[in-house]
Protein backbone atom coordinates (compact mmCIF):
# COMPACT_ATOMS: atom_id res chain seq x y z
CA UNK A 1 0.00 0.00 0.00
CA UNK A 2 2.85 2.34 0.85
CA UNK A 3 4.43 2.08 -2.57
CA UNK A 4 1.17 3.07 -4.27
CA UNK A 5 0.75 6.15 -2.13
CA UNK A 6 4.36 7.07 -2.63
CA UNK A 7 3.95 7.01 -6.41
CA UNK A 8 0.75 8.98 -6.29
CA UNK A 9 1.97 11.64 -3.89
CA UNK A 10 4.61 12.54 -6.46
CA UNK A 11 3.73 14.92 -9.26
CA UNK A 12 0.69 16.87 -10.32
CA UNK A 13 -2.83 15.51 -9.73
CA UNK A 14 -5.24 14.60 -12.52
CA UNK A 15 -9.00 14.95 -12.49
CA UNK A 16 -11.75 12.41 -12.95
CA UNK A 17 -15.40 12.73 -13.78
CA UNK A 18 -17.67 11.54 -11.04
CA UNK A 19 -21.45 11.53 -10.69
CA UNK A 20 -22.90 12.89 -7.48
CA UNK A 21 -26.15 11.85 -5.78
CA UNK A 22 -28.38 13.70 -8.23
CA UNK A 23 -26.59 12.08 -11.17
CA UNK A 24 -24.88 15.32 -12.20
CA UNK A 25 -21.24 15.17 -13.25
CA UNK A 26 -18.52 16.92 -11.27
CA UNK A 27 -14.73 16.85 -11.40
CA UNK A 28 -12.65 15.47 -8.56
CA UNK A 29 -8.94 14.84 -8.09
CA UNK A 30 -8.93 11.58 -6.08
CA UNK A 31 -7.51 8.75 -8.14
CA UNK A 32 -9.61 5.57 -8.09
CA UNK A 33 -8.18 2.71 -6.04
CA UNK A 34 -7.91 0.37 -9.03
CA UNK A 35 -5.76 2.87 -10.88
CA UNK A 36 -3.36 3.16 -7.96
CA UNK A 37 -2.94 -0.60 -7.73
CA UNK A 38 -2.36 -1.17 -11.43
CA UNK A 39 -0.06 1.81 -11.85
CA UNK A 40 2.03 0.62 -8.92
CA UNK A 41 2.23 -2.87 -10.42
CA UNK A 42 3.34 -1.59 -13.82
CA UNK A 43 5.91 0.83 -12.42
CA UNK A 44 7.29 -1.78 -10.02
CA UNK A 45 7.47 -4.24 -12.93
CA UNK A 46 9.33 -1.74 -15.11
CA UNK A 47 11.78 -0.94 -12.33
CA UNK A 48 12.44 -4.62 -11.60
CA UNK A 49 12.94 -5.28 -15.29
CA UNK A 50 15.44 -2.44 -15.54
CA UNK A 51 17.32 -3.68 -12.49
CA UNK A 52 17.51 -7.18 -13.95
CA UNK A 53 18.95 -5.85 -17.19
CA UNK A 54 21.49 -3.77 -15.27
CA UNK A 55 22.70 -6.89 -13.49
CA UNK A 56 22.86 -8.79 -16.77
CA UNK A 57 24.96 -6.01 -18.26
CA UNK A 58 27.35 -6.11 -15.32
CA UNK A 59 27.57 -9.90 -15.72
CA UNK A 60 28.48 -9.41 -19.36
CA UNK A 61 25.34 -10.98 -20.89
CA UNK A 62 23.86 -7.83 -22.41
CA UNK A 63 25.22 -4.60 -23.76
CA UNK A 64 24.74 -1.23 -21.98
CA UNK A 65 22.68 -0.15 -24.97
CA UNK A 66 19.99 -2.59 -23.84
CA UNK A 67 19.83 -0.89 -20.44
CA UNK A 68 19.47 2.63 -21.84
CA UNK A 69 16.91 1.50 -24.39
CA UNK A 70 14.80 0.07 -21.57
CA UNK A 71 15.34 3.21 -19.51
CA UNK A 72 13.87 5.32 -22.30
CA UNK A 73 10.91 2.92 -22.67
CA UNK A 74 11.84 1.96 -26.21
CA UNK A 75 12.07 -1.29 -28.10
CA UNK A 76 14.57 -2.14 -30.88
CA UNK A 77 12.16 -0.99 -33.61
CA UNK A 78 11.61 2.42 -32.00
CA UNK A 79 15.29 2.87 -31.25
CA UNK A 80 16.19 1.92 -34.82
CA UNK A 81 13.93 4.65 -36.19
CA UNK A 82 15.14 7.19 -33.67
CA UNK A 83 18.83 6.53 -34.36
CA UNK A 84 18.47 5.91 -38.09
CA UNK A 85 20.04 2.44 -37.89
CA UNK A 86 18.48 -0.73 -39.30
CA UNK A 87 16.51 -2.80 -36.78
CA UNK A 88 18.57 -5.95 -37.27
CA UNK A 89 21.72 -3.97 -36.53
CA UNK A 90 20.21 -2.53 -33.36
CA UNK A 91 19.33 -6.04 -32.26
CA UNK A 92 22.90 -7.16 -32.93
CA UNK A 93 24.23 -4.25 -30.92
CA UNK A 94 22.38 -5.52 -27.87
CA UNK A 95 25.07 -8.23 -27.62
CA UNK A 96 28.03 -7.02 -25.53
CA UNK A 97 30.84 -8.41 -27.68
CA UNK A 98 29.47 -6.63 -30.77
CA UNK A 99 28.65 -3.43 -28.88
CA UNK A 100 32.26 -3.23 -27.63
CA UNK A 101 33.57 -3.02 -31.19
CA UNK A 102 31.27 -0.21 -32.38
CA UNK A 103 32.73 2.82 -34.11
CA UNK A 104 32.39 6.20 -32.37
CA UNK A 105 30.16 7.47 -35.18
CA UNK A 106 27.56 4.77 -34.49
CA UNK A 107 27.76 5.35 -30.75
CA UNK A 108 27.24 9.04 -31.37
CA UNK A 109 23.96 8.33 -33.16
CA UNK A 110 22.74 6.24 -30.23
CA UNK A 111 23.80 8.88 -27.75
CA UNK A 112 21.80 11.51 -29.63
CA UNK A 113 18.74 9.32 -29.99
CA UNK A 114 18.70 8.33 -26.33
CA UNK A 115 19.94 11.64 -24.90
CA UNK A 116 22.71 9.87 -23.00
CA UNK A 117 26.24 11.36 -23.02
CA UNK A 118 28.73 9.33 -25.02
CA UNK A 119 30.86 8.47 -21.98
CA UNK A 120 27.89 7.12 -20.00
CA UNK A 121 26.61 5.05 -22.90
CA UNK A 122 29.52 2.61 -22.56
CA UNK A 123 28.79 1.68 -18.95
CA UNK A 124 25.80 1.26 -16.66
CA UNK A 125 25.47 2.88 -13.22
CA UNK A 126 27.06 0.63 -10.62
CA UNK A 127 24.81 1.06 -7.60
Amino acid sequence: MDFEDEIFSDGLPKVYYKHDDQGRYVLETDAPWAEKVTCALIIAGNRANLEEIRKAVLAGQKSPLCYYMELRQMDPVMLAKAAGIATFRVKRHLRPEIFAKLKPSVLDRYSKALRIPLEELKTVPNR
Binding site: D10, V15, Y25, T29, T38, C39
Partner: protein
Protein backbone atom coordinates in the same frame (compact mmCIF):
# COMPACT_ATOMS: atom_id res chain seq x y z
CA UNK B 1 -8.99 27.38 -12.17
CA UNK B 2 -6.25 30.01 -12.56
CA UNK B 3 -5.95 33.01 -14.80
CA UNK B 4 -2.82 33.63 -16.83
CA UNK B 5 -1.89 36.25 -19.34
CA UNK B 6 -1.19 35.36 -22.97
CA UNK B 7 1.50 37.12 -25.01
CA UNK B 8 -0.71 40.06 -25.99
CA UNK B 9 -1.96 40.60 -22.44
CA UNK B 10 -5.34 38.95 -22.99
CA UNK B 11 -6.35 36.86 -19.97
CA UNK B 12 -6.45 33.09 -20.41
CA UNK B 13 -8.37 30.99 -17.92
CA UNK B 14 -6.68 27.67 -17.16
CA UNK B 15 -9.29 25.00 -16.48
CA UNK B 16 -8.42 21.59 -15.12
CA UNK B 17 -9.63 18.97 -17.60
CA UNK B 18 -9.67 15.19 -17.63
CA UNK B 19 -8.44 14.54 -21.16
CA UNK B 20 -5.68 16.44 -22.91
CA UNK B 21 -7.05 16.77 -26.42
CA UNK B 22 -10.64 17.74 -25.60
CA UNK B 23 -9.54 20.09 -22.83
CA UNK B 24 -7.06 21.84 -25.13
CA UNK B 25 -9.67 22.21 -27.86
CA UNK B 26 -12.26 23.63 -25.49
CA UNK B 27 -9.66 26.00 -24.02
CA UNK B 28 -8.74 27.27 -27.49
CA UNK B 29 -12.40 27.88 -28.30
CA UNK B 30 -13.07 29.52 -24.96
CA UNK B 31 -10.14 31.85 -25.45
CA UNK B 32 -11.77 32.98 -28.69
CA UNK B 33 -15.06 33.65 -26.96
CA UNK B 34 -17.08 30.48 -27.56
CA UNK B 35 -17.93 29.06 -24.16
CA UNK B 36 -17.99 25.29 -24.61
CA UNK B 37 -17.28 22.56 -22.10
CA UNK B 38 -14.89 19.63 -22.38
CA UNK B 39 -17.52 16.84 -22.58
CA UNK B 40 -19.33 18.79 -25.29
CA UNK B 41 -16.20 18.79 -27.47
CA UNK B 42 -15.74 15.10 -26.73
CA UNK B 43 -19.26 14.28 -27.89
CA UNK B 44 -19.29 16.56 -30.93
CA UNK B 45 -15.92 15.27 -32.07
CA UNK B 46 -17.15 11.63 -31.70
CA UNK B 47 -14.42 10.83 -29.21
CA UNK B 48 -15.95 7.68 -27.76
CA UNK B 49 -14.57 4.52 -29.26
CA UNK B 50 -13.12 1.15 -28.48
CA UNK B 51 -10.20 -0.55 -30.12
CA UNK B 52 -7.97 -3.37 -28.96
CA UNK B 53 -4.73 -3.45 -30.92
CA UNK B 54 -2.86 -6.66 -30.09
CA UNK B 55 0.00 -5.95 -32.48
CA UNK B 56 0.78 -2.40 -31.30
CA UNK B 57 2.82 -2.38 -28.14
CA UNK B 58 3.87 0.39 -25.79
CA UNK B 59 6.49 -0.64 -23.24
CA UNK B 60 5.71 -4.34 -23.83
CA UNK B 61 1.96 -3.93 -23.26
CA UNK B 62 -0.82 -3.96 -25.85
CA UNK B 63 -2.79 -0.85 -26.65
CA UNK B 64 -6.45 -0.74 -25.66
CA UNK B 65 -7.91 2.50 -26.94
CA UNK B 66 -11.11 3.91 -25.48
CA UNK B 67 -11.23 6.88 -27.77
CA UNK B 68 -10.60 7.76 -31.35
CA UNK B 69 -7.16 8.26 -32.85
CA UNK B 70 -5.26 11.29 -31.50
CA UNK B 71 -6.06 14.31 -33.62
CA UNK B 72 -9.46 13.23 -34.92
CA UNK B 73 -11.57 14.51 -32.01
CA UNK B 74 -10.11 17.94 -32.42
CA UNK B 75 -10.43 17.97 -36.21
CA UNK B 76 -14.01 16.73 -36.24
CA UNK B 77 -15.11 19.11 -33.49
CA UNK B 78 -13.54 22.07 -35.29
CA UNK B 79 -15.18 21.12 -38.55
CA UNK B 80 -18.62 20.63 -37.03
CA UNK B 81 -18.45 23.88 -35.08
CA UNK B 82 -17.25 25.85 -38.09
CA UNK B 83 -13.87 26.95 -36.77
CA UNK B 84 -11.12 28.14 -39.04
CA UNK B 85 -7.85 26.56 -37.95
CA UNK B 86 -4.23 26.60 -38.91
CA UNK B 87 -2.65 23.13 -38.63
CA UNK B 88 1.03 22.61 -39.27
CA UNK B 89 3.75 19.98 -39.02
CA UNK B 90 7.46 20.41 -39.56
CA UNK B 91 10.45 18.40 -40.62
CA UNK B 92 13.02 20.78 -39.26
CA UNK B 93 12.83 21.25 -35.46
CA UNK B 94 14.53 24.64 -35.61
CA UNK B 95 11.98 25.96 -38.06
CA UNK B 96 9.14 24.57 -35.98
CA UNK B 97 10.36 26.29 -32.82
CA UNK B 98 10.94 29.59 -34.62
CA UNK B 99 7.45 29.60 -36.04
CA UNK B 100 6.01 28.79 -32.65
CA UNK B 101 7.76 31.85 -31.24
CA UNK B 102 6.43 34.05 -34.03
CA UNK B 103 2.87 32.85 -33.67
CA UNK B 104 3.01 33.39 -29.91
CA UNK B 105 4.31 36.92 -30.44
CA UNK B 106 1.39 37.59 -32.75
CA UNK B 107 -0.89 37.00 -29.76
CA UNK B 108 -2.26 33.53 -30.45
CA UNK B 109 -2.24 30.67 -28.00
CA UNK B 110 -1.05 27.49 -29.65
CA UNK B 111 -1.97 23.85 -29.19
CA UNK B 112 0.96 21.47 -29.49
CA UNK B 113 1.25 17.70 -29.75
CA UNK B 114 4.13 16.40 -27.64
CA UNK B 115 5.65 13.18 -26.41
CA UNK B 116 4.67 12.65 -22.79
CA UNK B 117 7.93 10.96 -21.90
CA UNK B 118 10.12 13.94 -22.72
CA UNK B 119 8.13 16.75 -21.12
CA UNK B 120 10.35 17.85 -18.23
CA UNK B 121 7.60 18.55 -15.71
CA UNK B 122 5.90 15.14 -15.91
CA UNK B 123 6.37 12.76 -12.98
CA UNK B 124 7.25 9.09 -13.22
CA UNK B 125 3.77 7.63 -13.06
CA UNK B 126 2.63 9.64 -16.10
CA UNK B 127 5.68 8.85 -18.17
CA UNK B 128 4.80 6.72 -21.16
CA UNK B 129 6.50 6.89 -24.47
CA UNK B 130 3.34 8.27 -26.06
CA UNK B 131 3.49 10.88 -28.78
CA UNK B 132 -0.03 12.30 -28.69
CA UNK B 133 -0.18 14.45 -25.61
CA UNK B 134 -1.68 17.89 -26.22
CA UNK B 135 -0.69 21.07 -24.39
CA UNK B 136 -1.12 24.80 -24.90
CA UNK B 137 1.77 27.23 -25.19
CA UNK B 138 0.75 30.60 -23.74
CA UNK B 139 3.81 32.83 -24.16
CA UNK B 140 7.55 32.80 -24.28
CA UNK B 141 9.44 33.42 -21.06
CA UNK B 142 13.11 33.61 -20.32
CA UNK B 143 14.75 30.33 -21.33
CA UNK B 144 11.52 28.57 -22.12
CA UNK B 145 7.77 28.72 -22.47
CA UNK B 146 4.77 29.17 -20.22
CA UNK B 147 2.68 26.05 -20.73
CA UNK B 148 -0.91 25.35 -19.79
CA UNK B 149 -1.27 21.57 -19.58
CA UNK B 150 -4.99 21.06 -18.92
CA UNK B 151 -4.57 17.55 -17.50
CA UNK B 152 -2.63 19.08 -14.61
CA UNK B 153 -3.93 21.64 -12.15
CA UNK B 154 -1.80 24.70 -12.80
CA UNK B 155 0.15 26.30 -15.64
CA UNK B 156 3.81 25.28 -15.63
CA UNK B 157 7.13 26.47 -17.00
CA UNK B 158 8.92 24.33 -19.57
CA UNK B 159 12.44 24.76 -20.89
CA UNK B 160 12.80 25.44 -24.61
CA UNK B 161 15.12 22.48 -25.02
CA UNK B 162 12.71 20.08 -23.31
CA UNK B 163 9.79 21.30 -25.37
CA UNK B 164 11.73 20.96 -28.60
CA UNK B 165 12.66 17.41 -27.69
CA UNK B 166 9.07 16.54 -26.79
CA UNK B 167 7.73 18.02 -30.01
CA UNK B 168 10.23 16.44 -32.34
CA UNK B 169 11.23 13.16 -30.71
CA UNK B 170 12.20 10.75 -33.48
CA UNK B 171 10.59 7.35 -33.68
CA UNK B 172 7.40 5.69 -34.83
CA UNK B 173 5.00 8.06 -33.07
CA UNK B 174 6.80 11.24 -33.95
CA UNK B 175 4.46 14.21 -33.42
CA UNK B 176 6.53 16.11 -36.01
CA UNK B 177 5.96 19.37 -34.23
CA UNK B 178 2.20 19.20 -34.79
CA UNK B 179 0.89 22.66 -33.97
CA UNK B 180 -2.53 24.26 -34.30
CA UNK B 181 -4.26 27.50 -33.48
CA UNK B 182 -7.57 29.13 -34.26
CA UNK B 183 -7.68 31.83 -36.89
CA UNK B 184 -11.32 32.62 -36.41
CA UNK B 185 -14.34 30.81 -35.03
CA UNK B 186 -18.05 31.05 -35.46
CA UNK B 187 -19.21 32.67 -32.18
CA UNK B 188 -22.74 31.26 -32.49
CA UNK B 189 -22.40 27.77 -33.99
CA UNK B 190 -25.35 25.47 -34.51
CA UNK B 191 -24.69 23.29 -31.47
CA UNK B 192 -27.74 21.09 -32.00
CA UNK B 193 -26.75 20.09 -35.51
CA UNK B 194 -23.14 19.49 -34.40
CA UNK B 195 -24.31 17.25 -31.52
CA UNK B 196 -26.50 15.17 -33.83
CA UNK B 197 -23.65 14.72 -36.27
CA UNK B 198 -21.29 13.68 -33.49
CA UNK B 199 -23.74 11.16 -32.02
CA UNK B 200 -24.52 9.58 -35.39
CA UNK B 201 -20.84 9.23 -36.16
CA UNK B 202 -20.19 7.62 -32.77
CA UNK B 203 -22.93 5.04 -33.33
CA UNK B 204 -21.35 4.10 -36.64
CA UNK B 205 -17.90 3.81 -35.12
CA UNK B 206 -19.02 1.59 -32.29
CA UNK B 207 -21.36 -0.70 -34.22
CA UNK B 208 -20.46 -0.81 -37.87
CA UNK B 209 -16.72 -1.22 -38.33
CA UNK B 210 -16.39 -4.67 -39.91
CA UNK B 211 -13.20 -5.62 -38.09
CA UNK B 212 -13.12 -7.76 -34.97
CA UNK B 213 -10.85 -5.44 -32.98
CA UNK B 214 -12.93 -2.24 -33.06
CA UNK B 215 -16.15 -1.15 -31.44
CA UNK B 216 -18.39 -3.58 -29.61
CA UNK B 217 -16.76 -6.54 -31.39
CA UNK B 218 -13.39 -5.45 -30.10
CA UNK B 219 -14.63 -5.61 -26.51
CA UNK B 220 -15.75 -9.20 -26.97
CA UNK B 221 -12.39 -10.03 -28.53
CA UNK B 222 -10.58 -8.52 -25.55
CA UNK B 223 -12.86 -10.38 -23.12
CA UNK B 224 -11.97 -13.72 -24.71
CA UNK B 225 -8.29 -12.88 -24.55
CA UNK B 226 -8.46 -11.99 -20.87
CA UNK B 227 -10.30 -15.19 -19.96
CA UNK B 228 -7.65 -17.27 -21.72
CA UNK B 229 -4.67 -15.22 -20.61
CA UNK B 230 -4.05 -16.98 -17.29
CA UNK B 231 -3.58 -20.38 -18.95
CA UNK B 232 -1.72 -18.94 -21.90
CA UNK B 233 0.73 -16.59 -20.23
CA UNK B 234 0.92 -17.72 -16.62
CA UNK B 235 -0.43 -15.78 -13.64
CA UNK B 236 2.32 -13.17 -13.34
CA UNK B 237 2.38 -12.20 -16.99
CA UNK B 238 -1.41 -12.27 -17.27
CA UNK B 239 -1.56 -9.86 -14.33
CA UNK B 240 0.74 -7.44 -16.10
CA UNK B 241 -1.41 -7.53 -19.23
CA UNK B 242 -4.53 -7.03 -17.15
CA UNK B 243 -2.89 -4.11 -15.35
CA UNK B 244 -2.01 -2.65 -18.73
CA UNK B 245 -5.66 -2.80 -19.77
CA UNK B 246 -6.83 -1.25 -16.52
CA UNK B 247 -4.36 1.56 -16.96
CA UNK B 248 -6.00 2.33 -20.29
CA UNK B 249 -9.39 2.31 -18.59
CA UNK B 250 -8.58 4.57 -15.66
CA UNK B 251 -5.35 6.35 -16.41
CA UNK B 252 -4.08 8.02 -19.60
CA UNK B 253 -6.42 10.96 -19.12
CA UNK B 254 -9.75 9.24 -19.55
CA UNK B 255 -11.57 10.99 -16.75
CA UNK B 256 -12.34 7.58 -15.26
CA UNK B 257 -13.96 4.41 -16.64
CA UNK B 258 -12.49 4.73 -20.13
CA UNK B 259 -14.21 8.00 -21.15
CA UNK B 260 -17.64 6.53 -20.43
CA UNK B 261 -18.32 9.03 -17.65
CA UNK B 262 -17.26 11.88 -19.88
CA UNK B 263 -19.62 10.72 -22.59
CA UNK B 264 -22.44 10.47 -20.06
CA UNK B 265 -21.69 14.08 -19.08
CA UNK B 266 -21.97 15.01 -22.76
CA UNK B 267 -25.34 13.26 -23.17
CA UNK B 268 -26.50 15.05 -20.03
CA UNK B 269 -25.58 18.45 -21.49
CA UNK B 270 -27.15 17.51 -24.79
CA UNK B 271 -30.38 16.52 -23.04
CA UNK B 272 -30.60 20.05 -21.61
CA UNK B 273 -29.90 21.49 -25.03
CA UNK B 274 -32.62 19.47 -26.75
CA UNK B 275 -34.95 19.19 -23.75
CA UNK B 276 -35.27 15.51 -24.53
CA UNK B 277 -36.37 12.92 -21.97
CA UNK B 278 -34.85 10.11 -24.03
CA UNK B 279 -31.40 11.61 -23.70
CA UNK B 280 -31.78 11.91 -19.92
CA UNK B 281 -32.50 8.18 -19.83
CA UNK B 282 -29.55 7.44 -22.12
CA UNK B 283 -27.24 9.49 -19.92
CA UNK B 284 -28.25 7.29 -17.00
CA UNK B 285 -27.59 4.18 -19.13
CA UNK B 286 -24.13 5.48 -20.00
CA UNK B 287 -23.40 6.10 -16.33
CA UNK B 288 -24.34 2.46 -15.65
CA UNK B 289 -21.92 1.37 -18.38
CA UNK B 290 -19.20 3.49 -16.81
CA UNK B 291 -19.94 1.87 -13.46
CA UNK B 292 -19.51 -1.56 -15.05
CA UNK B 293 -16.12 -0.56 -16.43
CA UNK B 294 -15.18 0.72 -12.99
CA UNK B 295 -16.32 -2.61 -11.54
CA UNK B 296 -14.04 -4.37 -14.03
CA UNK B 297 -11.04 -2.32 -12.97
CA UNK B 298 -11.73 -2.92 -9.27
CA UNK B 299 -12.08 -6.66 -9.94
CA UNK B 300 -8.79 -6.64 -11.84
CA UNK B 301 -7.07 -4.79 -9.03
CA UNK B 302 -8.31 -7.46 -6.64
CA UNK B 303 -6.85 -10.19 -8.82
CA UNK B 304 -3.54 -8.35 -8.91
CA UNK B 305 -3.53 -7.74 -5.16
CA UNK B 306 -4.38 -11.44 -4.53
CA UNK B 307 -7.11 -10.49 -2.11
CA UNK B 308 -8.20 -14.13 -1.88
CA UNK B 309 -11.72 -13.42 -2.93
CA UNK B 310 -13.26 -16.42 -4.66
CA UNK B 311 -15.09 -14.25 -7.21
CA UNK B 312 -11.95 -12.41 -8.35
CA UNK B 313 -10.90 -14.54 -11.30
CA UNK B 314 -9.88 -13.85 -14.87
CA UNK B 315 -13.08 -15.49 -16.11
CA UNK B 316 -15.18 -13.04 -14.12
CA UNK B 317 -13.14 -10.06 -15.28
CA UNK B 318 -13.67 -11.14 -18.88
CA UNK B 319 -17.34 -11.64 -18.11
CA UNK B 320 -17.62 -8.04 -16.96
CA UNK B 321 -16.22 -6.82 -20.26
CA UNK B 322 -18.72 -9.00 -22.10
CA UNK B 323 -21.42 -7.36 -20.01
CA UNK B 324 -20.06 -3.94 -20.98
CA UNK B 325 -20.13 -4.97 -24.63
CA UNK B 326 -23.77 -6.04 -24.40
CA UNK B 327 -24.76 -2.87 -22.56
CA UNK B 328 -22.92 -0.65 -25.03
CA UNK B 329 -24.39 -2.39 -28.03
CA UNK B 330 -27.88 -1.82 -26.63
CA UNK B 331 -26.97 1.77 -25.76
CA UNK B 332 -25.75 2.73 -29.22
CA UNK B 333 -28.64 0.99 -30.98
CA UNK B 334 -30.95 2.98 -28.73
CA UNK B 335 -29.04 6.19 -29.39
CA UNK B 336 -29.35 5.63 -33.13
CA UNK B 337 -33.13 5.55 -32.82
CA UNK B 338 -33.26 8.56 -30.50
CA UNK B 339 -31.01 10.69 -32.72
CA UNK B 340 -33.33 10.17 -35.68
CA UNK B 341 -36.16 11.80 -33.71
CA UNK B 342 -34.11 14.84 -32.66
CA UNK B 343 -34.62 18.05 -34.61
CA UNK B 344 -31.64 20.21 -35.46
Amino acid sequence: MTTELAANGKPFVHNHGAHCETAVTSALFRYQGLDISEPMIFGIGSGIFFGYLPSVKLVHLQVTAFRNRPGTVFRKAAQRLGANLVIKTYRDPQKGMNELRQVLKAGHIVGLATNLYWLPYVSERHRHNFGGHNIIALREIEGGFRISDPTFGDPVDCSAEGLERARFVPGPMNPRGFMYYTKSINPHPDLRRACIKGMKNSCGLMLRIPLPIFGVRGMRFLAKRIVKSEVKLGFQEACRHLAGTVRWVEETGTGGAGFRYMYAAFIQEASELFGSEDLVRLSRDMTAIGDTWREFSVMSARIIKKRNRPEATFANAGGLILKCADLEEAFFRDLQKVVKKLKA
